[in-house]
Amino acid sequence: MKRKPRGAFLFLTPSVLLLLIFFIVPIILTICFAFTNMALTGSAARNLQFIGFQNFTNMFQDPDFRISVWRTLVFLIFSAVIGQVVLGFILALLMKEKNITFRRIIGIIVIAGWVTPEIVVAFCMVAFFSDNGTLNQIIGWFGISPVSWLFSFPMVSVIIANIWHGTAFSMMVYQSALDEIPKDIEEAATIDGASSFKTLSYITIPMVKGSIVTNMMLVTLQTLGVFTLIYTMTGGGPGTATQTLPVFMYNQAFVNYQFGYGTAISLVLLVIGIVASLFYMKSMKVKV
């Protein structure tokens, strides 16, 4: 006895309305505003105009824009792909078949960094990397003189902070993927004389390939949108040293009040996000 929908689709109304107002409309607005000279102050504030591709021509000629695209890439590759995805996998792999109490303790420590809100992570990390911070204390034991990490290596600092915050997610994804591999397959390979490296590269990794790809896309998408961590740790500085695209967008729109230009930058972010998101869905092979 299957009932006819008979109005049950109306249950969708609140969600559809909310998504329309706060998701679809902003995306459409992004596309429209990106082609205007919208600003909060100055002559453009009174005189809103459609300016075609002007924002984009300016953007691609703007060295600050080009360098922030570059910084975004560096941030993505080192903190998302290499950092979280690879470190998460290594952690999950090493923790496999270890003492349960030991596993749990390491797990809790790593997950604690993930559960901690971004703003607190930023605060912890600013203290950790500061001139009198923990890191300089530790290298001091080895006779190395202190380094102004946030000043001399700002990009490294924010990358490490993001790895510290995000790795647990990948670790948990890989842990459950690794747990699903039937034990006897790996054992058979070992009995047949395969080295652990060979077992890893010919059996274990291929079997969890799906989770690796999906997780990598998801982590990349999350990292693409990271604003809070960088903004609160370094403000995009010193100078523009850690100005990734989201921070650049914020500075143009909310500090310089160039909304048109800021929106053009968000459009670039959005397009990158859309492409990555499509890849992500493809990697999931969803059935609906």
Binding site: M1, P5, A8, F9, F11, L12, P14, S15, L18, L19, I21, F22, F23, V25, P26, I27, T30, F33, M38, L91, K98, F102, I109, A112, G113, T116, P117, I119, V120, C124, M125, A127, D131, T134, N136, I138, W164, T167, L221, L224, G225, F227, T228, T232, P246, M249, Y250, A253, F254, G262, T263, L269, L270, G273, I274, S277, L278, M281, M284, V286
Partner: protein
């Protein structure tokens, strides 16, 4: 065998080192929160609760926690309500646009919300909604709605339709079936989604930072930043205590969600997708 044991010990060694690296920044904040003279480096304090009483004695801090609870609690409630409703027809009926709707929802779960903040701010400006906690809550609700709907639909798929059909025969309406049969069976799923939404928004700094202005309306996430972002002299001990208190709800809720999650998983296939 000797080689094997050596390998295992090396693995344990690497894990210990990695664990220590992850532990250090946290350890600092723990120690600093109990130390009124805390500095940026790790040092063992003369344990005192002064920092905590100072933070909790400040009405501004308490209000920021209150605002955070209202904002995140309201959002979590709205997300649960809207997504239970939306998931029902998506899970139970064949509809023409179902497939494309679900794909769009999945697509939206992955989009970085950062990218739409500029136009959203302009919308708020245009409708004079900036500095409205309720409007901010609505925006936050929609930003986590795609994830909520997607999860809720998977949870609902695992509730057998037979039970509902039995209720219909007994004369229950569609609405009655949803409310009395489906929703109670989905409690673990609902709790998981509510907890995830609440924690996500509790830790959200960017959205309230952009959309709210007056200090009285700022949630704890933004208040913390104002402490360590703009003051020349930072009182590390107090800030650490504030951060710890602010982190607690996320930790506690995470532990709760673990319990519910395992129940949710045991419902079978509930988290596929």
């Amino acid at each position: 065998m000797v080689k094997h044991r050596l390998q295992r010990n090396i693995q344990y060694g690497i894990l210990v080192v990695l664990g220590l690296c992850f532990l250090l920044p946290l350890f600092w904040i723990l120690l600093a929160s109990f130390d009124t003279n805390a500095q940026q480096g790790i040092k063992f304090p003369n344990f005192t609760l002064d920092n905590f009483s100072a933070v909790l004695g400040d009405s501004g801090n308490l209000r920021s926690f209150g605002v955070g609870i209202i904002l995140s609690g309201g959002q979590a409630t709205l997300v649960v309500l809207a997504s239970v409703l939306a998931a029902y027809p998506l899970s139970r009926y064949e509809m023409r646009f179902k497939k494309s709707f679900l794909l769009s929802i999945l697509f939206m779960t992955a989009l970085p919300i950062t990218a739409v903040m500029v136009p959203v701010f302009q919308m708020f400006l245009f409708f004079k909604l900036q500095n409205s906690i309720f409007a901010t809550m609505l925006f936050l609700t929609s930003s986590s709605l795609p994830y909520g709907i997607w999860m809720m639909k998977s949870f609902m798929d695992s509730v057998p339709i037979d039970l509902e059909e039995a209720a219909w025969i007994d004369g229950a309406s569609v609405w009655g079936g949803l409310r009395r049969i489906v929703a109670p069976l989905m409690l673990p799923g609902i709790a998981t989604i509510a907890i995830f939404t609440f924690s996500g928004s509790w830790g959200n700094f960017f959205v309230p930072y952009i959309l709210l202005q007056t200090p009285e309306k700022l949630p704890a996430s933004v208040t913390i930043y104002q402490f360590f972002g703009s003051h020349g002299m930072v009182e590390y001990g107090r800030l650490a205590a504030f951060s710890l208190l602010y982190t607690m709800p996320s930790v506690v809720l995470y532990m709760f969600s673990q319990r519910y999650m395992s129940k949710g998983f045991s419902m079978g296939g509930a988290t596929k997708g």
